[in-house]
């Protein structure tokens, strides 16, 4: 594990951490994570993945930084810049030892599978249910480990998927059609940031192989009440994408009607 002197100093607190150590750090250095969405969840997730030394970080977002994003999307500062580019610029300044790849496109049913290729782990940091279910279905069909995050208002939730274990649809079934957006009900930056940090933690644990992932468990955080709930759940045999009689076997754009931004 050849670390430069600068890297050895930078990661020294990881080296002494039993959950990571020098061997775990070299795993992080050789790992790749795709972050889909560089908004509120993505901002904190990307920041901590980069600081932790994840070697290759893909960042997909087609949207441009808007002033109304700045209460929570803490890695952005230049209004009008593409968010994937803005995030990649931030990463290079924060940690020049990692590579950030900006993917300036909307991920859709047609292109998501090819974008997932070559990454060890995926973070769903998208900002609406249609895209979250698209990411779930793509990861299930490709057997790609990923971590789901969602937030709005002062609340958020997180779970991790591994192949052959429960997926988002085992708990939620179909895409909710009545969900308000952050623009409609507002969002507290520190809440969404916390969920993004937890997503980064899941990615790091997956890569180094330490601890217990949030598999078959969903954590819900209520920031106002300062309350965490944990739901334990198993695979649903009627799950539309991973159940015995699955209906979804390929990605069809008609199933993720746009609305599909992140």
């Amino acid at each position: 594990m050849p670390f430069s002197s600068d890297e050895s100093k930078r990661y020294s607190r990881h080296f002494v951490l039993p959950a990571i150590g020098p061997f775990g750090q070299s795993k992080l250095q050789n790992a790749s994570v795709l972050v889909i969405g560089a908004g509120g969840l993505g901002s904190s997730a990307i920041m901590y993945l980069a600081a932790a030394g994840v070697g290759r970080i893909g960042i997909a977002d087609y949207d441009l930084v808007d002033e109304s994003n700045l209460n929570r999307q803490v890695i952005h500062s230049e209004v009008g810049l593409n968010k994937a580019v803005s995030a990649a610029n931030f990463v290079q300044k924060l940690n020049p030892h990692v590579q950030a790849i900006s993917i300036e496109k909307r991920l859709t049913a047609e292109n998501i599978s090819s974008e997932l290729e070559g990454y060890d782990f995926v973070l769903d940091c998208t900002d609406r249910f249609e895209t979250k279910f698209l990411v779930n279905d793509a990861c299930v069909l490709l057997r790609k480990p990923y971590c789901h995050g969602g937030a709005s208002g002062c609340e958020g939730q997180i779970m991790t998927y591994l192949p052959d274990f429960p997926c988002l649809r085992c708990l939620m079934g179909e895409i909710p059609q009545d969900a308000p957006t952050c623009a409609e009900i507002g969002v507290l930056g520190s809440t969404v940031g916390l969920i993004g940090c937890m997503q980064a933690t899941e990615a790091i644990k997956f890569i180094v192989g330490s601890g217990s992932l949030l598999v078959g468990r969903l954590i819900k955080y209520d920031g106002l009440e300062a309350r965490f709930q944990t739901l334990n759940f198993g695979r649903d045999e009627n799950c539309p994408v991973c159940g015995e009689h699955r209906r979804i076997t390929t990605l069809d754009k008609e199933n993720y009607k746009i609305k599909c931004d992140f």
Partner: protein
């Protein structure tokens, strides 16, 4: 009494669905854990019994 999300509620005899609708949960964005196990949506007509421990999780879709 029924313990719902950590609070004692006077909900004995009420169905899960009735409680969810009164509390303004969206049925398409919710999961209910009853006495430690996920309650299938098809069973939301079940009535709460005294001593039930319930966790209701409403999902959020922003990011």
């Amino acid at each position: 009494m029924v313990k719902i999300n950590g609070k004692e509620e006077d909900a004995v005899g009420k169905t899960v669905k009735e409680f969810l609708l009164e509390a303004n949960y969206s049925l398409s964005r919710v999961a209910v854990e009853l006495n430690g196990a996920i309650l299938p949506k098809a069973d939301y007509d079940r009535k709460f019994a005294d001593g039930d421990i319930v966790e209701i999780v409403g999902f959020v879709g922003g990011g």
